[in-house]
Symmetry: C2
DNA sequence: ACTTTTAATGTAATATCGTAACAGTTTAAC
DNA sequence: GTTAAACTGTTACGATATTACATTAAAAGT
């Protein structure tokens, strides 16, 4: 008999209130940085805030556009540096099929991120199924391959979009 | 009890003879084009030949470099057009984590491609496990998500590289 | 055979995504 | 306070991919 525990799925609903996500994530970030003695600088805070305010993936240059505090346009590398930092901390994920970035919806939960990408509303959720990651690990090992990293992106239609046609 | 059939794994061994791969793939391509009444033009043949001659993924511009027959340098769009065609035919796969392309190793076998990417030797194999794709499908559906396309890339160390340290 | 339609090519320009290099500044550690 | 490490500012550039449009070649219809 297979393990049938409920999946920890997170797909953002339409009526979803983003500001609470943002606050939660900023809090998590601050705490994590304190714990690891890392610096949560202005750029990093700002980039995380921008990403967390959208459940649609943002490109690095989209983020950059929203970084002109002081009217000054920042160089691309500024966004990429902050993104690298946030990704290493597990607060942000990169979607390789879109060259874009989303905030993590399961911070601190030790997951191999698997993404559900709705090609209609463009929202992105996390499936994060242990059954999937374990299946991949087992089958790869059986094939003589030692897995370091899994990259799973699932493209389709989310529940709300399917409902509303 | 779970399905324990053998996996149809393909990871290119080091002593592998590429020229037979190339010929097989060109043959498959010709046949498929005849069947679907599509044109297997010079560019398309050449691009497929270039990709099939390497089990390491090639970038579009790598391919382009090998396309200077007649000494003339081709425009990028030439490579991208041929690649689109070959990908639609299922003869070539795109690796999103590398922005690169590999020849399909399981033409005509109706598979959801899952890639094994060795970060040491850079070779790429296909896992193509139905168990994995079914697990993803089931868990996504359970999460209310309708799957159109799966993208699975597994980064790690292949058997031969693990052996030789 | 000739016309019409569709598909593929040639060519130039440009958009989008990402990194290297290095000098200067701030912060933390001693 | 001095030193070492991390972060920032800035410029330049490299890598990846697409748009647009004129031209040519192939297939389909008559």
């Amino acid at each position: 008999m297979e393990d049938m525990e409920a999946l920890p799925v997170r797909f953002p609903s339409r009526q979803h209130n983003h500001s609470s996500c943002v606050n939660k994530l900023l809090g998590d970030a601050e705490e994590e940085c304190r714990r690891q003695k890392l610096r949560f600088t202005e750029h990093r805070r700002k980039v995380l805030e921008i990403i967390a305010s959208s459940h649609k993936p943002l490109g690095a240059y989209d983020i950059l556009e929203q970084m002109n505090f002081s009217g000054r346009r920042q160089a691309p590398v500024v966004a990429y540096r902050a993104l690298d930092f946030l990704i290493n901390l597990g607060l942000v994920h990169r979607l390789n099929s879109l060259n874009a970035f989303v905030a993590c919806m399961a911070v601190g939960e030790d997951h191999t991120a698997q993404f559900l990408i709705c090609r209609q509303c463009k929202n992105v959720g996390e499936l994060n199924s242990n059954r999937v990651s374990e299946r991949i690990e087992k089958d790869a090992v059986e094939a003589g391959f030692q897995v370091d990293q899994q990259l799973v992106e699932i493209i389709g239609i989310c529940y709300e979009c399917a409902e509303s046609g």
